[in-house]
């Protein structure tokens, strides 16, 4: 076990940073904010932490903390700036934000190390710290999916007008999405630079946006579990596919394409459907047969009766009965 752990340490670290980066895109997405700013925050966080360590010799935790604060603030400012954009326009603005950061990194001269980037970021960062920080961040994201906050997030995503009408401050939620996204992305970038000791502009290009998106789409966009699945798959796939040699990119492409087309809710969605199906099958024998056929007499008059126009959906009566029966 421990030899496996040390042999794959790089991949374990990459899984954690990949997961946090994926979450930084997923959290806003869950609120209906189509923003890739988290990827830019990843770059910002990495550079900030690296600069703080190299120039000010700060300890790793302080450097990471400051980087996260900085990316959260920038996330907030960005959110304030582009809050009125929506959909793909918002996506484009955040892509532009990410790419501008890349170009600044290239043109930063000795400050950002231009195209070679910064290296020699040596610190006292340890694996227990990395596990702890990742778990804390993940835990907070998990909490945001449950209870009152989780329901409000759902409401903001599905129907903004409706959410606003029941007293949810939609604008504040959307801004929070930007801040959280900035913090998660910044944390991922800062931790990554601590374990890798280098950061360069090539590490934070457009491909990183594609990677983050790929992780949450193949894994599943609506739950942190999807991000975990995606981060694990896309960090470890090159190792699994090593046997196909140079064609692994092609297979990778096919997996992404098939998942994107056929699994709208990702692998996590498939799991959810499967467990529901299994539960339903288990429950079926438990319910006595009369209970199953009971709704029918009640529903039949509704379907055919004079009030049917209001009470039933326009879909065929038989199909909606069977649907109801399946649920009961």
């Amino acid at each position: 076990m421990s030899s496996w752990y040390f042999g794959n340490l790089v991949l374990i670290q990459a899984t954690m940073t990949g997961l946090l980066m994926a979450l930084s895109v997923q959290v806003p997405l869950r609120m209906g904010v189509f923003s890739f700013a988290g990827v830019g925050s990843y770059g910002l966080g990495a550079y900030t932490a690296a600069l703080l360590t190299i120039h000010l010799q700060l300890g790793s935790l302080q450097a990471i903390l400051l980087a996260v604060v900085a990316t959260s603030v920038i996330g907030l400012l960005l959110g304030l700036l582009i809050a009125r954009l929506a959909g793909l326009y918002l996506a484009m603005a955040t892509v532009a934000f990410d790419l501008i950061i890349t170009v600044i990194a290239i043109n930063g001269g000795t400050f950002t190390g231009s195209s070679t980037g910064l290296y020699g970021v040596l610190s006292d960062f340890t694996m227990p710290m990395m596990f702890t920080l990742t778990l804390i961040a993940l835990g907070l994201v998990v909490l945001s999916e449950h209870g009152k906050v989780g329901r409000r997030v759902h409401a903001v995503r599905d129907d903004q007008q409706l959410a606003a009408s029941v007293g949810i401050n939609v604008r504040r939620y959307r801004l929070t999405a930007f801040v959280v996204s900035g913090a998660l992305g910044g944390l991922a970038g800062a931790m990554n630079v601590m374990v890798r000791t280098t950061i360069g502009p090539l590490d934070i290009g457009f491909h990183l946006i594609v990677l983050a998106l790929t992780m949450i789409i193949v894994g599943g966009a609506m739950s942190w579990k999807g991000a975990v699945i995606g981060a694990v798959i896309f960090t470890w796939m090159p190792t699994w596919l090593a046997f196909v040699g140079t064609w692994q990119h092609l297979i990778y492409g096919f997996i992404v394409a098939i998942a994107a087309v056929l699994l709208p809710r990702g692998i996590h969605g498939v799991f959810v459907d499967l467990t529901r199906a299994i539960q339903r099958r288990r429950r079926k024998p438990a319910t006595p047969p009369p209970a199953e056929s009971e709704p029918e007499p009640d529903l039949e008059p509704l379907m055919t009766g004079p009030t049917s126009g209001q009470a039933t959906p326009p879909a065929g009566g038989s199909s909606s009965t069977s649907l109801l029966r399946g649920k009961a």
Binding site: I82, Y89, I100, L250, Y252, A260, P264
Partner: protein
């Protein structure tokens, strides 16, 4: 600069056409662009061809590829999607996913090295008009780009198909109630857009000599920016966006070290979006409660 603008125009036109009408933002557009030029490069290994044949081949490959993607991916997504917004997302992501396949093939075959079309019988010549030096391929690109844009704009505005497409762009359900065959029109539109991408691919490769498999991605982001800059679905907007971006990029390139080009281009887009969230020529989104 005008030549660069024409390439942008040709490429972004296809993207805008499918996005503005049948609501398909095809992120595989860049891969189609690259793969059409790549196929031409492969074919030229076996036979020497004149430029006309190379262009026709690329247009054909681009159109075909686009059709295949539409049938195998986007139609499947639309069939399964529950809401329009989730479909929009799925299509975007599906496009990114699909784009990795042609990219992987080209990267594998070329080992990610640049490839060109130098083996065709066409030679790039420089013509001198007084102080102005211009290549023959630049002239061809400009003429083809602007002519095709004009034809598309006219077709869009005047023809029955154009009217149908615009109707779909406004309200696809009502449009199909009016007897518009949405599927057929979508296929035609995708094929035309793909053909344009192929054409842009081959002209671009001739213009700069050689491209790398990743060139499509770079152009895709720029085209996305151009369409947003001009306003989705607006033909005038695409032309404006393409030449504005090309102009700004050229200006920055001439006045700075060159590595700032993208920052200025994207900074500009950022600013335009802040000032006019639906693009310079964008119409207000049609919203129904």
């Amino acid at each position: 600069m005008i030549s660069l603008g024409s390439i942008y125009l040709l490429f972004a036109l296809g993207l805008s056409l499918t996005w503005g009408t049948i609501d398909i933002l095809n992120f595989a557009h860049g891969a189609i662009f690259m793969f059409a030029a790549f196929t031409a490069y492969l074919v030229l290994d076996y036979v020497e061809l004149p430029i006309i044949a190379v262009v026709l081949l690329s247009v054909l490959v681009g159109g075909l590829l686009s059709l295949i993607i539409q049938v195998l991916a986007f139609e499947q997504i639309l069939k399964r999607a529950r809401t329009k917004r989730s479909a929009e997302m799925q299509i975007l992501i599906g496009g990114i996913g699909i784009a990795t396949i042609p990219l992987a093939i080209a990267q594998h075959e070329t080992k990610s090295n640049p490839f060109g079309l130098s083996r065709s019988t066409f030679d790039v010549n420089v013509w001198q008009f007084g102080d102005v030096r211009i290549t023959n391929i630049a002239v061809i690109t400009i003429i083809v780009g602007i002519a095709l844009w004009a034809v598309t704009a006219l077709w869009f505005r005047r023809s029955k198909h154009g009217l149908a497409l615009r109707a779909i762009g406004v309200d696809s359900e009502v449009a199909s109630l009016m007897g518009i065959n949405r599927r057929q029109l979508a296929l035609v539109t995708m094929a035309v857009a793909g053909g344009m991408a192929g054409l842009a691919g081959v002209l671009f490769t001739y213009t700069i000599g050689a491209i790398v498999p990743e060139s499509g991605d770079v152009l895709l982001i720029k085209a996305f920016a151009i369409v947003i800059l001009g306003g989705v679905g607006s033909m005038a907007g695409v032309a404006f966006g393409a030449f504005a971006l090309a102009g700004v990029e050229t200006w920055v390139l001439l006045n700075t070290s060159g590595s700032w080009t993208d920052a200025v281009a994207f900074g500009l887009i950022f600013l335009v979006l802040l000032a006019r969230p639906s693009g310079v020529f964008g119409r207000k989104e049609v919203r129904r409660a």
